[in-house]
């Protein structure tokens, strides 16, 4: 397809709803640095970028900045501890120069390795947070579904740090559906994140942050987009307050 035929699809592509074959055609044009399509997509992306600036304001925790900067520091330290990686990098740089034109591939590979490293750091952070809930001085454990074929498991609640749900016998959600956890307080349910179970029926989900005075933790099956309030009967609900007191 020529650029003129693709022109009407630039914005659909930019927002992610272009269909085949136009999507592949635009990609092919961009991949070969087609100037007409590059310019068209840039303009279309400006409209999409503007949409991103219209969301309701929200404020992250102060700890997030430290986490991000710490993970970069970890990354740099890890590279410092592994001289062989530095040697491999030097050899890779030499190869890049030698083979000329492959710098970009090499840089992308390096970026991929760094990302893998970063992702592991993030996962480690999540594991540490789960561990903190499991071992918290104020953590209580509630068992639900014991002796039943239905979903069963444990809920760990640390009022100061969050809730960790570990469940079994939780069948994979039907297409278009997902599980949603709820924190019930004074009769009101507050959404606490969506999750899926593994093919073997196991599931783990964590909600971080203060969960003072939680009465119960419940799980419902919802549409995959999530719901602000439960729209179905809870699959299970674990009462909490009685054990905390």
């Amino acid at each position: 397809m020529n650029c003129n035929e693709l022109r009407e699809h630039y914005e659909l592509y930019a927002i992610g709803v272009a269909e085949e074959p136009e999507r592949s055609e635009i990609r092919a044009h961009l991949n070969r640095q087609c100037e007409v399509c590059m310019q068209g997509i840039k303009r279309a992306r400006e409209v999409v970028a503007l949409l991103g600036g219209t969301v309701p304001p929200a404020v992250p925790s102060a700890a997030l900045r430290r986490r991000i900067l710490a993970s970069v520091a970890v990354e740099q330290r890890r590279f410092g501890w592994a001289p062989f990686l530095a040697a491999a990098f030097a050899m890779a740089l030499f190869a890049a120069v030698y083979f000329g034109g492959r710098e970009r591939d090499l840089a992308n590979e390096l970026a991929r390795v760094r990302e893998q490293n970063s992702r592991q750091t993030i996962e480690l952070t999540a594991v540490n947070q789960a561990f903190a809930i499991l071992t918290g001085a104020d953590t209580t454990v509630t068992t639900f579904g014991e002796g039943q074929a239905n979903p069963k498991g444990k809920v760990f609640v640390s009022p100061s740090q969050g809730v960790l749900l570990i469940a079994g016998n939780l069948q994979p959600a039907p297409p278009g559906k997902a599980y949603e956890m709820w924190i019930v307080k004074s009769g009101k349910a507050k959404a606490a994140g969506m999750f899926q179970s593994a093919p073997d029926g196991s599931a783990m989900h964590m909600q971080r942050g203060s969960v003072e005075n939680t009465d119960a933790v419940a799980v419902t099956l919802e549409n995959q987009a999530g719901a602000d309030q439960p729209t179905s009967t809870p699959l299970f609900a674990a009462p909490i307050r009685a054990l905390i007191q």
């Binding site: 400006e46 409209v47 304001p57 925790s61 994979p172 987009a225």
Partner: protein
């Protein structure tokens, strides 16, 4: 309903040097990038995933991804903000699709291999003034047009998935999407010069 994000996304008069410092692996530059775009990035992601804890993980992933891929961004060409937000949106939608058990939709090509596609944008494209203009443009859309744009942008749904979600024929949804994008383009003509 969309409300303009009237928070401080300062005009990126110095994004050029910021990008250059990141390319030299200066961690302080990453701190400045976070101070400049952290809130708007978090706001966008939390709007998509509706969970503050998960959103923070994804913000962290977004900034590290940009940090690791910044070598591909031309430091001389404009603000890094639009690229950062594109990465953030894609991370959030990928998470949403994964959490909902839907097939992950690869957006790698656009967001990482060609960050140059985010160069040359106006330096203050994410300013509060422009957010107000966009809010106004979005509010002028019909309810159906606004809904399809929100489902596409914030949930990453395809036109077929939007049709299923709304219980409408695919052809109707396609008409709404095209009309919405055309109206936005017309309304934002002065903001995004052709």
């Amino acid at each position: 309903m969309m409300i303009p994000l009237l928070m401080a996304v300062h005009a990126a008069e110095d994004d050029t040097s910021l990008v250059a410092r990141m390319q030299r692996r200066d961690p302080n530059a990453l701190a400045e990038l976070y101070d400049r775009y952290g809130r708007v990035t978090f706001s966008l992601i939390v709007r998509v995933v509706r969970d503050a804890g998960i959103a923070e993980d994804l913000v962290q992933e977004t900034f590290l991804r940009v940090w690791n891929r910044v070598h591909g961004f031309d430091a001389q060409k404009g603000s890094i903000g639009p690229w950062l937000l594109a990465v953030a949106r894609n991370r959030a939608i990928d998470y949403l699709r994964s959490a909902a058990g839907r097939q992950r939709q690869s957006r790698e090509f656009e967001e990482t291999d060609l960050p140059a596609l985010y160069c040359d944008m106006e330096k203050d494209i994410l300013s509060s003034h422009k957010a107000r203009r966009v809010k106004s443009a979005v509010e002028k859309l019909s309810p159906n047009q606004r809904h399809v744009i929100e489902l596409a942008y914030f949930e990453g749904l395809s036109q077929t998935e939007i049709a299923e979600r709304m219980g409408q024929p695919l052809g109707t949804v396609k008409t709404w999407v095209r009309a919405a994008l055309k109206n936005l383009r017309d309304e934002l003509g002065a903001v995004v010069p052709a």
